[in-house]
Chain length 161, copies 2
Amino acid sequence: MTKGGDEKQGEDTASKAATLFPPMNDVIGYKLRRAQLAVFQDFLASFAKLKVRPAEFSVLVLIAQQPGLKQTEIADQLGIKRANFVALMDSIEKRGLAERRKSDSDKRSHSLHLTPRGAAFCRKMFAVWRDHEDRMIARLGGDEERARLITMLDRLAEPGG
Amino acid sequence: MTKGGDEKQGEDTASKAATLFPPMNDVIGYKLRRAQLAVFQDFLASFAKLKVRPAEFSVLVLIAQQPGLKQTEIADQLGIKRANFVALMDSIEKRGLAERRKSDSDKRSHSLHLTPRGAAFCRKMFAVWRDHEDRMIARLGGDEERARLITMLDRLAEPGG
DNA sequence: TATTGTTATACTCTATAACTATA
DNA sequence: TATAGTTATAGAGTATAACAATA
């Protein structure tokens, strides 16, 4: 495929190297990173107009699906440190898409909710995301392939199952 | 019981949200990122002793396989900007693992080569990588699954084929 | 004492512009 | 003019420590 000068290296070097080093094509982590970069590139281009970054997208989706959770709970689900979540949430709140509400039961915590404007914004986001996702599924070759990919990515991300 | 009815969201809210937003489990980019993070975490732990980061690993592998290429050629293959490649190569050279050689044909460019120490270091790297990679293949369920994953990741990364 | 949100800080990775020396 | 390597710099993303308010 795209292996460039792989087939015709100097014979000594090639055979010696072949026994010593894996081609980068065999390195799962490397392939994962390249694929993720390519998918994020399409995502960023798709959402340039709405000015939504992947992290903001995921935060808004979680607040929409699970309104009332506190910051730490949203941050934990996404693997974001609570310290880093603050600026992210500040920006979302400043744009009027979601808000922090003081909890009655625990005055330390803020529960997170979409604003009406945020709900409308999420509908636009969903349409843009759908197009993006369909492009990725097309690259993969269809829904069946996509399902198989998700299964394998879950196995990598959650070794315990 | 501050969390009240978390597992049983109000039906209106839940069904409404379900039609408006994708669960993050359906977002290929998100799943890719989480899997890549998990794999890199294992990689970083595996290579902590050798103090090799993923980018350094890939650079050393490419220099080993294609000695004599110039900086831009290595950087381009890995999707690294030539400006960012400088510090990376500085560090590798400072550790005595590879070296820049002035080219006779084009005095602007540096051709890259492993040092003898770098070649020995790469053999150690290979053994560590093999263990890491085997763990990832085990997570996936075997070599056949791994091959399928690589195929799909290539489709995402190289939409043209 | 422990936890929630916050600030400050630092380190990595990435992206761009501009310089130098060669071509 | 253009290219290879370099420098400087700025922006994200991420990690840790410490503090105030509250539990």
